[in-house]
């Protein structure tokens, strides 16, 4: 049974990745997870300089979900290269470096530095970052900015370039198309959904930044709908993320049309979620006589008159 998936020059042993920011830098818990059973690991978002991140509290639980506002706390790309990468290189899985930045130039600088390193197999670009030039408006909310970022980074690398889209926009398909036409190899869908929670005793927000990113099972339906919209808009692979806890969840994303999936919040609850999912999918394929997980992708059966754009609710 073929579980592998090839993106550009890179072949992943299976279609399961760990989502950025939910698996540390990749080697934190070898006792709990045998990463060699995963298609790949996506690092915490890396910026040029180290970032302290946001004040606490940074996380809170919500019904079937959680809000976070870590503030992209990370050790910076230099320290990543000197301290983390050597340990990642020896792992028997693919390493995808996730990049965050507050200017187009910073995205480029981080990527260029990583480009000089061996052991990085692909890039995922986190565009859900405040653009300092635009007064902190989110890059990911503006398809022109996403186009510029994609175009600039595409020039700098032949490694697979994946753009990670935010769901907090009216038409995510517009962003998917822009990524495709500027040469991205794939898109990751979705980053967290903006949310908020309030402590009614203190009357303060439950996370210091007031709003934060919602993740976990609560957002799975939203993620599936966004993946659905994207797979109908572009031909490049879509990597599905959002609330995936079980192999059944993953299969939903495959059926809708995702080529790979990522587990995020699930890693906090069961660090080996990715492995259970890989095993579950294998069983499902055997049971359904599929000799390639790929034959599942995009097999959703819908009525002819179902519209991706809009319907009466």
């Amino acid at each position: 049974m073929n579980e592998s998936f090839t993106l550009g020059s890179v072949t992943f042993k299976n279609r399961i990745l760990t989502a950025s920011g939910t698996f540390g830098y990749g080697n934190e818990n070898p006792d709990l997870v045998d990463v060699s059973k995963l298609g790949g690991i996506i690092t915490k978002s890396l910026s040029w300089k180290p970032r302290d991140g946001n004040p606490n509290p940074r996380i809170t639980e919500t019904p079937s979900g959680m809000l976070n506002s870590i503030g992209l706390a990370n050790i910076g790309v230099h320290k990543f290269i000197s301290e983390k990468l050597p340990k990642l290189k020896i792992l028997d899985t693919k390493i995808i470096a996730n990049i965050a930045a507050s200017s187009v130039k910073e995205y480029g600088d981080v990527l260029e530095l990583l480009e000089q390193q061996e052991g990085i197999h692909a890039y995922e670009i986190n565009v859900s970052c405040p653009n300092v030039k635009e007064g902190g408006l989110n890059f990911g909310n503006d398809s022109k900015q996403v186009a510029v970022i994609t175009k600039e980074l595409r020039k700098k690398t032949t490694r697979p370039l994946v753009i990670k889209l935010t769901p907090n926009v009216t038409h995510i398909s517009e962003f998917a198309r822009v990524c495709e036409s500027e040469g991205a190899d794939a898109i990751s869908v979705i980053n967290t959904v903006i949310g908020m929670a309030v402590n009614i005793n203190t009357r303060k927000p439950k996370i210091a930044t007031a709003t934060g990113g919602l993740s976990g099972p609560a957002i799975k339906p939203i993620a599936l709908a966004k993946v659905f919209e994207c797979v109908h808009a572009v031909k490049i692979p879509v990597i599905g993320i959002g609330g995936i806890m079980t192999w059944e969840d993953a299969v939903e994303f495959f059926i809708v049309g995702a080529s790979m999936i990522q587990t995020g919040t699930a890693n906090f609850i069961n660090p080996s979620t990715g492995i259970s999912i890989a095993e579950g999918i294998k069983m499902y394929c055997v049971k359904n006589s599929l000799n390639d997980v790929g034959t599942l992708i995009g097999t959703l059966e819908t009525d002819k008159n179902v519209s991706v754009i809009s319907s009466w609710l």
Binding site: G21, T22, F23, G24, E28, N29, D31, L32, K44, D52, G53, P55, N56, P57, R58, I59, T60, E61, P63, S64, G65, M66, N68, I70, A73, G216, P217, T265, N267, F268, I269, N270, P271, S272
Partner: protein, 255 residues
């Protein structure tokens, strides 16, 4: 650190408000160190996140936590049945081990309410090495659990047990009245209490180690959700779940 399933052996009320939940795990019983915690999934689907609990006691191949009901997770734990299986990740966090040796005579343990949870194991580790005096404070006596401790003195807000007042009042009064030689503080409880204890330690010029609580998503160092602001070093924050939970109080900003 492992993720494992441990069968519930016993559920017992230590006081009206505090429950001890005992389960079997020889792995945890063997590896756990004083002050470490377990990250427990209280139910399969809801709530989503694990709940962190200090290890309260260890006996042979059994291990227990002590908790009071504050919300959904703890109330689900309180309703477990004998034989139910608990999904646990642990041991998590640093331990008191690295802080118990040193140039002092008497370990002063200060707990607020259920903050007492890590102290039985700490007491066991200290017993052969140092003198111990333990100060327990709480709203009312139903929150005080003096089991497996040494030399315990009480304070309650309502005066239902020991001195009427805060545990800090009691501590100050007691230290003024007694000479314990060189001392070191170990505290666990509400953040404000630990801050006050830390400030007092600073005045006295003694070291004070506190076991800090923050909200946590993973408990194993991968989400960065459990940050606490530092006062020293080049990093603005440290992670409570893996760089703590135990810190010297001068090195962190308690609020």
């Amino acid at each position: 650190m492992q993720q494992l399933y441990a069968p519930v052996l016993q559920l017992e009320h230590l006081t009206k408000e505090i429950i001890e939940l005992t389960f079997r795990s020889s792995y945890l019983a063997e590896t756990i160190r004083p002050g470490q915690f377990l990250n427990i999934r209280v139910d399969n689907n809801f709530p989503l996140l694990r709940r962190p609990f200090s290890v309260y006691n260890v006996q042979r191949d059994t291990i227990s936590i002590a908790f009071n009901i504050v919300g959904l997770g703890s109330s689900i734990l309180a309703k477990k049945h004998i034989g139910d299986s608990l999904d646990i990740i642990g041991p998590c966090g640093n331990s008191f081990d690295q802080f118990i040796d040193g140039d002092y005579d008497t370990a002063i343990l200060i707990a607020g309410g259920i903050g007492v949870a890590p102290f039985p194991l700490l007491t066991a580790s200290l017993l052969s090495k140092k003198n111990i005096v333990t100060f327990l404070g709480g709203r009312t006596k139903e929150l005080l659990v003096p089991n497996h401790l040494s030399n315990v003195k009480f304070a309650t807000d309502d005066g239902s047990e020991g001195m009427k007042g805060t545990v800090l009042d009691l501590l100050k009064k007691d230290l003024a009245e007694n000479n314990y030689g060189k001392i070191r503080f170990f505290s666990c409880g509400p953040s404000r209490m630990m801050k006050a204890v830390g400030d007092f330690a600073k005045e006295l010029g003694v070291l004070c180690y506190a076991s800090v609580e923050t909200s946590m998503a993973c408990g194993i160092g991968i989400c960065q959700g459990c940050n606490i602001e530092t006062t020293t070093g080049d990093r603005k924050y440290k992670l409570v779940c893996c760089e703590g939970t135990i810190f010297e109080t001068q090195t962190i900003k308690l609020t």
